[in-house]
């Protein structure tokens, strides 16, 4: 465990996400080889790179769906998955980890909506069960959220009866229902038909405009250029290059980035 700086208690406002030498191995396969990066409050960061580069794994580390092998990762100044006292790390009990995840919304490539619940029930589930808020209030908020993603009239539909783009927008509303301070998007448009991509990206643009802190793993370079504040190019488990999207996309410095961008742009 390296960790050059403290957990951020001295800073007035800690960065939303602070990753220090994050390493993750599956068996002997090292997927992340020391990722260090910082996401400011309100920043939209796009993670790009070839498949297998570890983008998704890194994203999943942020809300503790994967456990780090080494390094430190904190969200809003709070170490993820561990408690620190007297210089020792203690693994969190599932309950504490669940508490941390409440504040971190996640949107998956394959939506993962609950198929046995309607769109509205999907959005209401977590605020009802996890936060234990009163039903009437939760329903009002959920309907507002569905309206925000343009699906007010689809509230009572089951996911199977919605198109991919509509399902993904419900999934975004479901994540927002927990009022997260950080949203993680894991290739949110990769499983969609090309003509459905736009409607999901529009919702995400709206979110970015409202100041939501977002980390987006994506192949949509147009979205990155237009919306992102920073772009990180990853390959083989390391950050190859990062900076302003316009700069990285226009003048990639590394040969690996150039090769990748020449294929996707």
């Amino acid at each position: 465990m390296s960790g050059s700086t403290g957990p951020g208690s001295t800073v007035v406002e800690p960065p939303m996400v602070l990753a220090e030498q994050v390493t993750k191995s599956f068996g002997s396969n090292e997927v992340l080889k020391g990722i260090s990066l910082e996401v400011r409050r309100g920043e939209v960061m796009c993670l790009v790179g070839p498949s297998g580069s570890g983008k998704s794994t890194f994203l999943r580390c942020i809300n503790h769906l994967e456990v780090l092998s080494a390094g430190r990762l904190s969200v809003d100044g709070e170490l993820i998955g561990y408690r620190e006292s007297n210089g020792k790390l203690y693994e969190m009990a599932p309950k504490e980890a669940a508490k941390q995840r409440r504040d971190i919304g996640m949107v998956f490539q394959r939506f993962n909506l609950f198929p046995h619940m309607t769109a509205l029930q999907n959005v209401m589930e977590a605020p009802l069960r996890v936060k234990g808020l009163p039903k009437a209030k939760v329903e009002a908020t959920a309907r507002d959220l569905l309206a925000r993603v343009g699906l007010a009239d689809r509230a009572d539909y089951y996911p199977a009866h919605l198109s991919g783009g509509q399902q993904q927008r419900v999934a975004i509303a479901r994540a927002l229902a927990m009022e997260p301070k950080l949203m993680l998007f894991d290739e949110p448009t990769s499983a969609l038909d090309p003509e459905l991509v736009g409607e999901v990206l529009d919702v995400m643009k709206g979110l970015a405009k409202e100041g939501m802190t977002m980390i987006v793993v994506t192949h949509e370079m147009g979205f990155a250029r237009e919306v992102a504040d920073s772009l990180v190019f990853m390959d083989a488990g390391v950050v190859v290059e990062s900076g302003l999207p316009s700069e990285v996309l226009a003048n990639p410095r590394h040969a690996r980035t150039q090769a990748f961008l020449s294929k996707v742009l």
Binding site: L65, A98, N112, P115, V130, D153, E199, F223
Partner: protein, 338 residues
């Protein structure tokens, strides 16, 4: 010849939409077999109606005999009690088998190995002899004088032993059914639930179990039907108040076994038929939201009419039919991609 002339037009534009007019292919052998089967069946029924050994008047007499209907009730009780215990135990065993703890996992595996590897009849006989093996049931600390001690014979009557025997055997099968159900739910469902901050038990009860029900219910229905019939084996305990043993006992007095076997069979058929209908409705209930190809055909059709998004699986123009409120239909092509 007008052969080629008759073939070409339907392929072209003009007549393609007209219904096909063709002479139906004949299946003469189907007819022959159908007639043959009906004839054999009719022959059997007519013969049975007049055969004295069936003794139909006796069937009528005993069908609603009080002893028989009481026995039918006991059969139902045996089925319900043992099935409820079996399902609860089965869920516990299934979760144990999926546990990361190797000891817990092995214990569950060992249980299944024993109870699936030996015949129910043998297990029921052993349960009947349990008081020979364990004469008293003691509650207390090992190697100390027990706090409470009572005789096994007094504590467990034959009905209880029959329920225990049936339930413990059935639990092994239920465990496998539940396990298959739990594994059938996509891993993404668990992740989505956890990512929302839901606990393990919430994830299990709200997300995983309801979805696995769709897979669990059909085989469980079969198990209930099978259990109803297996209750006829509790005579091994020996417990003698259920349907089959009771009808055997009555016929032992009347020396007329055939009609009583028919009476028992009619009661079994009556119960299994009810269970089958119940199973149909349960399956329908739990396939909610999942476009089940067969049972939900009309449902899916309805939704299509409303969304306009579903039917075009291959045709690929779903967005066009989205509601007027939709903000995007025009933009997607220009967005991002290239």
């Amino acid at each position: 010849m007008n052969g080629p002339a008759a073939v070409t037009p339907p392929l072209g534009q003009p007549d393609a939409s007209a219904p096909i007019k063709a002479i139906r292919l004949r299946h003469p052998w189907r007819m022959v077999f159908a007639v043959l089967l009906v004839a054999i069946f009719a022959l059997f029924v007519i013969d049975a109606a007049f055969r004295p050994a069936y003794d139909w008047p006796a069937v009528g007499k005993y069908l609603f005999d009080r002893r028989i209907s009481m026995a039918a009730l006991v059969t139902i009780e045996l089925t319900v009690f043992s099935m409820v215990i079996a399902i609860v135990l089965g869920v516990i065993l299934a979760v144990m088998r999926l546990s990361p703890n190797p000891v817990v996992k092995s214990v569950a595996w060992f249980y299944l190995w024993i109870f699936r590897g030996t015949p129910v009849y043998v297990q029921l006989t052993i349960w009947g002899l349990i008081s020979l093996i364990y004469t008293t049931i003691d509650i207390g600390l090992p190697f100390m004088t027990p706090w409470i001690s009572f005789s096994t014979n007094a504590a467990l009557n034959t009905f209880t032993l029959a329920v225990i025997g049936l339930a413990l055997n059935e639990a092994a099968y239920m465990a496998e059914i539940v396990r298959a159900g739990l594994l059938s739910v996509d891993k993404g469902q668990e992740e989505a639930s956890i990512a929302l901050g839901m606990s393990w038990s919430q994830t299990m009860t709200r997300v995983i179990l309801p979805q696995s029900m769709r897979v669990i219910i059909p085989p469980t229905g079969n198990e209930v039907i099978s259990m109803l019939k297996t209750t006829s084996l509790v005579t091994a305990v020996p417990f003698s108040l259920e349907l089959f043993t009771r009808s055997r006992d009555i016929s032992a007095e009347t020396f007329n076994p055939i009609p009583l076997l028919i009476v028992a069979s009619i009661w079994y058929l009556f119960f299994t038929s009810i269970l089958m209908v119940g199973q149909y409705f349960l399956e329908k209930r739990f396939s909610r939201g999942v476009g089940d190809r067969q049972s939900n055909k009309s449902d899916a059709g309805n939704a299509t009419a409303l969304t306009g998004a579903l039917p075009v699986i291959g045709a690929g123009q779903p967005t066009v039919v989205l509601p007027p409120k939709q903000d995007t239909p025009g933009t997607p092509g220009t967005e991002g991609a290239r």
